[in-house]
């Protein structure tokens, strides 16, 4: 399996760059995945989305529906797409360290 390197530590990812083990996630890991997604700097707004998704996932083992994401961050849907140009699944969930969702994504 491919890997990414953060602070000298090798972290396993799948062929599309999603973390193989979500426990490997850390702030620096998120920053690196974000860079690969074309996001140079993670702002407070990015972190609000990332933290919500991550905590939701840790609790429920599911990615949150985008409605909950909007409701809990107070962001408009279109703004979330601006923050994460690859969209909530391949963008935000990936940076938050979630496994790749099933379905047409």
């Amino acid at each position: 399996m491919p890997f990414i390197e953060v602070k000298g530590k090798k972290i396993e990812v799948n062929e599309e760059g999603f973390l193989a083990n979500h426990e490997d996630w850390a702030k620096e890991v998120a920053e690196l995945i974000a860079k690969e997604e074309g996001i140079e700097n993670l702002t407070d707004d990015h972190w609000a989305v990332i933290n919500y998704i991550r905590n939701y996932y840790l609790e429920k083992k599911l990615a949150p529906m985008v409605r909950k994401l909007c409701k809990n961050t107070g962001f408009q849907l279109r703004y979330i797409f601006e923050l994460f140009p690859s969209g909530p699944a391949r963008g935000a969930c990936k940076v938050a360290g979630l496994p790749k969702p099933d379905g047409c994504v």
Binding site: M1, N14, E15, E16, F18, A20, N21, H22, E23, G38, K61, L62, A63, M65, V66, R67, K68, K71, L77, P85, S86, G87, P88, A89, R90, P99, K100, P101, D102, G103, C104, V105
Partner: protein, 445 residues
């Protein structure tokens, strides 16, 4: 098994654990799936090579393993070895091949890994061999012994266990629709505007792709807006609403039948006249063309794509569109399962010509169009994702040549691949569904 282990791709280990009795079972399933017609196909290829240039895999990588005839030959060799008189007795004469673990691996790599079941080779075959369907039958043999690439298998499993392919809880689906309904009311300025849920006796039951409520809800809103403007009698369903059917790609007919039956159940529960399918390529060919086969029963209701419905509204003057609201150049991608294999060809063009001011066809188009590279379950099978992006170059080049800024695609799966191609090949385009584009142009009185 720990959750950690589940996330890993265990396919190689699975193949190593394939026992002789599994091989016997897979062979039997393969044979059982072959009608006389299909058995004849397996004796028909004359290696003319016309299929080579029809396949986006071969065009992109020029690798002999990507040739449709080569892929077909993998299935043919097994058929001849085990089910033909000459092949059984003098295997060397017929190109008969042994079915063993190495062959299972080769089937997986070629028939899952190098094919999107797009059917372009079948269309170009000089003998009319249904190559993509034979490949599906070989996939069925693999599926019968549990050898299906993990992302594809888990999408089937999630749909079977949770009722939809993204595992959306019922409450979340209902709340999302309520949220979208408020958005709709704001957009059309009418507090009575509805996204009806479980409305019995409505004319239309509209089945959606779970990806929409989960991550891309604006496409539901767009359709809701169009149906509102047309004054349609329609409904969503609180359960059994998933238009997708990954049993189709996995070659799992039983799973495919279960998923098809769910839409039939919703039609019965709601008493609707027409099942209308969201913009989803394989969902369309599954529900409209394959389901009666899987269920062994003809539908006693009408099945239509939302594309047909919207084009009808325009023809009948039930909705009015202002094309000047979509002034950027738009091109159209033809999803294989909706167009070449589905037969919905002109409706989306008709709608776009009314909805946008600058429409450019990519070439080739209609039934001759190239697959985006994400079909056949490729988007779900992470292990082949680099290949998927590589062969998507054919589509990326087609798009670039049009100079369009927006790629319309009546399939959510294609849209995801197109977004990936956009990023990978730096196309600078946006991918939208037909209804999203039409909704922008929609005039609300």
């Amino acid at each position: 098994m720990s959750e950690k282990a589940l996330k890993k791709d265990l396919l190689e280990e699975k193949i190593k654990q394939v026992k002789p009795e599994d091989l016997v079972k897979a062979l039997q399933v393969f044979r059982d799936k072959l009608s006389q017609e299909y058995a004849a196909y397996l004796n028909s290829c004359v290696h003319c090579g016309l299929c080579a240039d029809s396949c986006h895999y071969f065009l992109a990588d020029k690798d002999v393993q990507s040739l449709p005839a080569y892929k077909l030959n993998l299935a043919q060799g097994i058929f001849k070895k085990y089910f033909s008189f000459v092949g059984k007795n003098i295997p060397g004469w017929t190109g008969a091949k042994e079915f063993n673990q190495a062959m299972v691996k080769e089937w997986v790599d070629s028939l899952f890994g190098r094919c999107t079941m797009c059917g372009r080779c079948s269309l170009n075959c000089s003998l009319g061999i249904n190559i993509h369907l034979l490949i599906r039958k070989a996939r069925s043999a693999l599926a019968s012994i549990g050898v299906v690439p993990p992302g594809l298998q888990s999408t089937v499993d999630t749909a079977l266990e949770k009722g939809n392919n993204m595992g959306i809880p019922r409450k979340d689906w209902i709340e999302t629709v309520e949220w979208l309904e408020e958005e709709l009311q704001d957009e059309v300025g009418d507090k009575q505007a509805r996204l009806p849920m479980d409305k019995k006796g409505a004319r239309i039951f509209y089945a959606i792709n779970p990806r929409e409520p989960m991550f891309f809800p604006l496409s539901i809103l767009a359709v809701g807006k169009i149906l509102y403007a047309a004054g349609e009698s329609w409904t969503l369903s609180s359960d059994n609403y998933d238009v997708t059917n990954y049993g189709y790609f996995a070659g799992n007919d039983e799973a495919a039948a279960t998923m098809s039956r769910r839409l039939v159940q919703s039609m019965e529960k709601l008493g609707c006249k027409t099942l209308v399918l969201a913009e989803c390529g394989h969902g369309f060919s599954s529900a409209r063309w394959e389901a009666p086969e899987w269920l062994n029963k003809k539908h006693d209701f009408e099945v239509k794509s939302i594309l047909e419905i919207v084009a009808d509204y325009i023809r009948q003057g039930r909705i009015k569109l202002d094309p000047s609201r979509n002034s950027e150049p738009v091109t159209l991608h033809d999803p294989c399962n909706q167009v070449r294999l589905g037969g919905i060809v002109e409706e989306q063009r008709f709608t776009l010509k009314h909805a946008v001011s600058h429409f450019i066809e990519m070439k080739p188009n209609r039934e001759k169009n190239f697959c985006c590279g994400g079909g056949g379950g490729q988007l779900a099978m992470t292990r082949f994702s680099q290949k998927r992006l590589q062969v998507g170059q054919i589509k990326a080049d087609q798009i670039r040549k049009t100079g369009a800024k927006i790629v319309a695609a009546p399939c959510h799966n294609c849209i995801d691949q197109l977004m990936e191609l956009n990023k990978h090949y730096k196309l600078g385009v946006e991918a939208m569904t037909i209804c999203e584009i039409a909704a922008v142009a929609l005039i609300i009185n």
